[in-house]
């Protein structure tokens, strides 16, 4: 029981970056853009925040950081970084009608390279022996818990023990679900992703919707990267540490059938599966089995993927024009 209680907060913490990524990708995919550059975007979101916070912490030196600035600077830097990635993708795919798969993969190459290069460069500036940057002061601001969290015992542990970005992720996911389902903008956006020619004929500016939703999606996903460094990793950046979470977030989109409110539970479940191997006793004799347990989230995704394609319900399918670019005078 105690093990389980400790497991939940870790699963949540592990799931939050995935939730950001998943929500961001849902917003993007609803406009018909399949952004395989998501892993790159999340790297850029993370490193941009790190850069901002690094220079702020250095400028402060040994003094105390201003909490508001310590949060705002990395946050804005991260959002700006992801926004630029969103703009690059949108420009190539929407304006220049480039192949979405290829553009996405190029973005991932670029984004991961960008993250690791600047991460590496900062490490050198830092002149540390360890191959990582530690931004403990900024991280402390990001990790601030609600004051009463500790007083509430188990409940506090389970529900109130996270940094503010974790709650932001959940709020964003709910807002996105609401906007998509219940508002004019959501209706128009879904129409763009399903059938851009129809949306166009209805007077919806298809390019504008694709641009904005892709950029917003990228900014949301980038926050996942920021959360990972500042909160989950306690402000320690090391190259390639973020790993393949971006790809996992894309898988999560399918897992949730493009519903971001479902994403909240699914991402926590995935977060749990991702670290499940730590909780399955293997004994020292069979460490290799851990590697097999790490396979679980991918196998589960594969199975879900197959199941949804087997069930073939109209409402559960990807947006109909996903992956295709729109050109009005196409004949």
């Amino acid at each position: 029981m105690l093990g389980f209680l400790a497991f939940i907060p870790r699963a949540v913490a592990q799931g939050i970056p995935l939730l950001f990524g998943c929500t961001g990708e849902i917003v993007t995919e609803k406009s018909g853009n399949l952004n395989l550059g998501l892993p790159g975007v999340m790297y850029v979101g993370a490193i941009s925040g790190v850069i901002g916070s690094f220079f702020y912490e250095n400028s402060v030196g040994t003094g105390d950081v201003n909490t508001a600035l310590a949060i705002l600077i990395p946050l804005l830097c991260s959002m700006a970084g992801s926004l630029v990635m969103g703009l690059i993708y949108s420009f190539l795919v929407v304006t220049l009608r480039a192949n979405q798969n290829v553009t996405g993969l190029a973005m991932t190459t670029f984004g991961v390279g960008f993250g690791n290069f600047f991460g590496g460069s900062l490490i050198k500036l830092y002149k540390a022996d360890i191959p990582s940057i530690s931004l403990s002061k900024t991280s402390a601001c990001f990790r601030m818990q609600l004051p009463f969290a500790d007083d509430l015992g188990v409940i506090g542990q389970l529900i109130f023990s996270y940094g503010f970005l974790a709650y932001t992720a959940i709020i964003i996911a709910i807002v996105v679900a609401y906007v998509l389902k219940k508002t004019r903008v959501g209706l128009n956006l879904r129409a763009v992703g399903e059938n851009p020619a129809t949306a166009d004929a209805a007077g919806i500016n298809v390019s504008k919707y694709k641009y904005i939703s892709t950029c917003i999606g990228c900014v949301i996903a980038g926050l996942g990267g920021l959360y990972y460094v500042m909160d989950y990793a306690c402000g320690i950046w090391s190259n390639d540490a973020f790993g393949d979470r971006g790809w996992l977030a894309i898988a999560l989109v399918i897992f949730t059938l493009w519903k971001s409110d479902l994403g909240i539970f699914a991402s926590i479940l995935f977060g749990g599966l991702y670290i499940l191997h730590l909780y399955i006793p293997t004994g020292m004799e069979h460490m290799e089995l851990k590697e097999l347990y790490k396979m679980i989230p991918y196998v589960v995704t594969m199975i879900v993927l197959i199941f949804t394609s087997m069930r073939n319900r109209r409402e559960d399918q990807p947006p109909q024009s996903l992956g295709l670019n729109y050109f009005r005078e196409e004949r």
Binding site: E194, A201, G203
Partner: protein
């Protein structure tokens, strides 16, 4: 005839696509409170012209005035703001949305209650019947069309453009549509109906504007004209609509279809207990509203469509019989049963757009030999023959088929099927979208096959053509055989009746 105020004036409109000049210096006028037919053959540039008014295409040259003011309509939103709405031939609806979601799409506010109220009012006013919560993918074609029209009205359009609205409707549904159109006219709205059906022009419109090969030919007041005059304007010179019908020589039973039933992937029964036979040297025409099971029936015979029950028996010259059901499509073809189905988009069924003409010729034959490599010389010869005989205009054999004009694509498709010297030729919509001259070329080709003793099955859209070319006509209604009649002894009206009601009800 007296005109009201001018609603739209288009002057000197030109539009070019890649290789094709779609419109050349076209003039068009529309007045308030009138219904105008935009008449022309397929490919004469009617839809392109109206798409420019609806903001989907932008004219290369020319001027558009709406309500007397020069405007530049660069997007559908702008067209909507000017009160112009268009119902396209291929409906622009989001399948997974409900009717009301589609109707309010593109607007500003999001007041579901108010929207429903407004939709209800429009329905009451013009006599529409619709369930606003029904998903589009559950709707019939006629329901979808209704949604499209309500959508346009919802946005407050005063100028409605309907692109071939009757092509997919039963005569009863057409009547209902015309009633609605008349209601709208008396409400002061202006309507353009794009069509190539003369009887509709006569029935519904006040004025006719005729286009030919992308150019403006002239306009007529419906009350003062007749179908002959309009046909002459459409095709340029008066043509006899007579198609040759040689007497069948020594007809023998070639293909016998017994109690065929077909269910499609969605679980809908498309063909119900259909039985008939085909004779060598005879043309069997198939009439019916599109979607009455023609496609599925043909595909079932060709072995492409899975059959619930029934049999298809092939009887050769010597009277030996072979059961075709259960055979591989390739083997059926090798027995001499050829299928040429011209789909709406011409490509996509039977041809590969990005491949050259010889490679498209190979599609049918490449599986015949059992070597690893494809034979490339024979298809090349066949391709050259088809191009020569059918006068396909192409820059060269290796030109991708996709970039040829529609008529030429069709000649290649039909030509390929005929070049295999079939015993049974199944052809559907062979002249879809062709000009009159090309159409006659195809009719001649089919008649030539008939004279060779081929059993021909001809699915057509135009009843006049069907009645002239066929020896017998089978009428399909909702997947069932309504009746099989002698083409020489039946009238168009009788066929029309058969298309909508069964024998018993008659």
């Amino acid at each position: 005839m007296e005109h009201g105020d001018i609603a739209v004036r288009m002057r000197g409109i030109s539009k070019r696509f890649d290789l094709k000049q779609a419109n050349t210096c076209v003039d068009f006028e529309l007045y308030k409170g009138e219904i105008v037919s935009l008449l022309g053959e397929n490919g004469s540039g009617k839809t392109t012209l109206m798409n420019m008014l609806a903001g989907l295409y932008y004219p290369d040259e020319g001027e558009i005035q709406v309500g007397g003011r020069a405007v530049s309509i660069s997007s559908p939103a702008m067209a909507a703001a000017l009160g112009i709405g268009m119902v396209h031939q291929h409906f622009k609806l989001v399948d997974v949305f409900t009717a009301w979601e589609n109707i309010i799409l593109g607007g500003k506010d999001y007041d579901v209650q108010a929207a429903r109220e407004k939709i209800r009012k429009i329905c009451d006013r013009y006599g529409f019947v619709i369930d606003p919560d029904k998903k589009i993918y559950n709707m019939t074609v006629s329901e979808k069309q209704t949604v499209e029209i309500i959508k346009v009205l919802y946005r407050g359009a005063d100028i409605l453009i309907l692109d071939e609205p009757t092509a997919v409707l039963t005569p009863q549904e057409c009547e209902r549509l015309f009633d609605v159109m008349r209601n709208m006219r008396s409400d002061g709205k202006s309507i353009v109906i794009i069509t190539h059906k003369l009887n509709e022009v006569m029935e519904i419109s006040d004025r006719v504007v005729v286009l030919r090969r992308g150019e403006y030919v002239g306009q007529l007041e419906t009350a003062k004209t007749n179908p002959q005059q309009m046909t002459a304007m459409m095709v340029g010179h008066s043509v006899t609509l007579d198609i040759e019908r040689p007497e069948p020589v020594n007809p023998k039973k070639r293909l016998e279809i017994k109690n065929i039933s077909v269910t499609d992937i969605e679980g809908v029964k498309k063909v119900k207990d259909v039985s008939f036979y085909m004779n060598s040297g005879e043309i069997l025409g198939i009439a019916g509203i599109s979607g009455s099971g023609q496609k599925e029936l043909l595909e079932a015979i060709a072995g492409i469509q899975k059959v619930d029950e029934g049999s298809v028996t092939y009887i050769d010259e010597d009277g030996n019989t072979t059961e075709l059901i259960g055979m591989h499509p390739r083997d059926i073809r090798e027995m001499g049963v050829a299928l040429s189905f011209v789909p709406e988009d011409r490509l996509g069924m039977g041809l590969v757009g990005n491949m050259s003409i010889p490679e498209n010729m190979m599609l049918r034959t490449f599986g015949e030999s059992h070597k690893w490599f494809t034979d490339r010389d024979k298809p090349r010869k066949v391709a050259q023959d088809v191009v020569d005989v059918l006068e396909v205009s192409t820059p060269g054999l290796d030109f991708p088929v996709r970039r040829l004009s529609g008529g030429n694509i069709q000649k290649i498709l039909v030509g390929r099927e005929i070049s295999s010297n079939p015993k049974v030729l199944l052809t559907a919509y062979a002249v879809r979208g062709l000009d009159i001259n090309s159409s006659f070329k195809i009719y001649d080709l089919i008649n030539e096959q008939k004279k060779r003793g081929v059993a021909v099955l001809f699915v057509g859209e135009d009843l006049d053509v069907l009645m002239q070319i066929s020896d017998k006509i089978m009428v399909l209604r909702d997947g069932e055989v309504s009746d099989i009649v002698d083409a020489k002894k039946i009238t168009k009206n009788e066929i029309g009746m058969l298309m909508t009601s069964t024998k018993e009800l008659k």
